[in-house]
């Protein structure tokens, strides 16, 4: 591998890792605060991508579509939490798994009902359609860099919210002690609704920004969900910092594996995960 290819793969890996972080952070946030394992989280990523496609078709503006999709996702999050997820707080893990599998079925069915089963694609928005030349022959698309920067901005915003605001304080308190938060006179059920809705929105936004650089196909949600599992298992369940580090590691391992060991590339992240677990069974940043 020469150095240019290496750099390209490095940027690709980081960019993929950052998108993974966007999705995995929602998964780990919901788990950390509410103790819920949401298997349907990947479906939200899928919903985001399909919504982006749908609205780009109708409005022609990617930015507008992204905004509308995020708002819709937020609403979906509120409705799902209020009707379904709420029932799970006092239930065991098995019920969580089964109920969210049921949700996957429903989302997949709705997707095929509303948008069909053919692969779809979204054009890269014109303003970002250029490429930056790296060497004489190799160029790197601006949009991918935009995605990476966007994810970093979101990560920074999350860091700010969690560490510097009242909502963030409640989230951190809720992670360590549910009763205490309730004693403080905080409406815990509203906090849960907000956290879940934000989690859903993060996954959907990831779906939106990833739409122009990946094909929109049925089953994309499940595929990304399982990669996110690997991310949070490596990072430590419930830890946002862990999700960030885990996502970057998974992104890099996956990208480099597809160049170095193409025939085994898809399984390398799982091998990597098993290796991490051997050393640290609770993940890298478990609390």
């Amino acid at each position: 591998m020469d150095s240019t290819l290496f750099i390209v793969q490095l940027i690709n890996g980081i960019q993929y890792g950052l998108v993974l972080f966007l999705i995995a952070s929602g998964l780990t946030l919901v788990f950390g605060v509410m103790g819920i394992l949401n298997l349907a989280h990947g479906s939200m990523y899928m919903v985001g991508a399909y919504l982006a496609w749908y609205f780009v078709q109708h409005t022609g503006s990617f930015a507008l579509s992204a905004f509308i999709s995020a708002v819709i996702a937020l609403c979906i999050g509120v409705v799902v939490e209020r009707t379904l997820i709420r029932q799970l707080y006092r239930r065991n893990h098995l019920d969580q798994v089964l109920l969210t599998i049921g949700m996957i079925f429903v989302f997949n069915a709705l997707q095929s009902l509303l948008w069909g089963n053919d692969p779809l694609g979204v054009e890269v928005p014109e303003a970002l359609a250029a490429s930056i030349p790296l060497t004489g022959i190799i160029e790197y698309p601006v949009y991918r860099i935009f995605v990476a920067v966007f994810c970093i901005v979101v990560a920074a915003a999350m860091y700010y919210v969690i560490n510097k605001t009242r909502l963030g304080m409640l989230i951190r308190a809720g992670e360590s002690n549910r009763e205490m938060v309730e004693c403080l006179g905080v409406d815990i059920s509203r906090l849960y609704t907000i956290v879940f809705a934000i989690g859903v929105m993060l996954a959907a936004v990831a779906g939106v920004v990833a739409a122009p650089i990946s094909s929109i196909v049925p089953g994309m949600g499940e595929h990304i969900l399982i990669s996110c599992f690997v991310v949070v298992v490596i990072g430590g369940m419930g830890s946002i910092k862990g999700a960030f580090v885990g996502a970057l590691l998974v992104g890099l391992v996956d990208t480099f594996a597809s160049v170095l060991v193409p025939e085994l590339s898809s399984m390398m992240i799982y091998v990597f995960m098993a290796f991490v677990l051997l050393l640290k069974p609770q993940g890298l940043f478990s609390s």
């Binding site: 109920l99 599998i101 049921g102 499940e222 399982i226 298992v233 399984m267 098993a274």
Partner: protein
Amino acid sequence: MLFKKRAERLFMWVFFPLALLMPMFLEQNEYYVNKLTTIMILSIFVMSLDYLVGKCGLITLGHAMFYGLGGYLFVILAPEYEAVNFWVYTFYICAISAAIALVIGLLVLRTSGIYMIMITLAFAQMTFYYFSGSIDYGGTDGVFVYVKPETSIFGLSLFDLDNPTHFYYLCLLSLFNTLLFFKVLVRSQFGRVVDAIQVNPGRTTALGYNIFVYKLMSYVVASALGAYAGYLFTLQYGFVNPSMLSWTTSGTALVMLILGGIGSIYGAILGTITYEGLHYTLEHWTEHWMLFMGGLIILMVMVFKKGIAGFLEDLLEKRDGK
């Protein structure tokens, strides 16, 4: 008595005689005989999962790994154009799967709860992608089985595996034996410790039991039987492919479990029949069958947690009480 509940006994008296006579009703209608055979095979798979999830409290999303391994081990071990002995290979496949489960169990069972759910899933995905990407084993297309095994034992050949009705009876027999085996296991002295661990692991450790060993053995046994089911499936359809290993196979099995009633063992059969029956009916009616199936699953989790077996038990016990 092995079958203590009235619902269980009722099920045994209705299901197995009916299943024995079924091929006669179907008058060699191969499609339905095959469909029912698949239900028997899936029931074995779901039952082994029920033992893990319902009886041992070990929630796994990676049980399909062993289902797929059962199939792949056969095509890896058996010569391509030569009929091998069914029973010998049953032994090989169960033994090797058990050994693999032992190693994986050592890793997986160190964790619990949500971690275990995700790690079992990750191991299953690992094998899924290994076989999907493997050129030797046909990638996503999988491998064909050209010659089915012969089933002679001490010179006596009872089943001709190319004959669907024979194959049906082999699977029915296997299902019956699996059910019996798990019922005996649950009632056994080993089962006593497993029960104790599920209700109160801390207490069981304080009484001097090394609970890890009991979990590991349960995991190994259930995995070996899951692999046996996969082996039968591969023989029935004459091929093996990575979709057997996919996480939807594990997820669907869990869904069948909750439909039938978790922890009841025989409920696995009821759940499999119900799921496959519903799937078949809905699919013929609308291509968006998943919408209804998903709704049903959500409904089951919310209000009907005990499944069909639990419903039957409540019904019969209420009658008893009065």
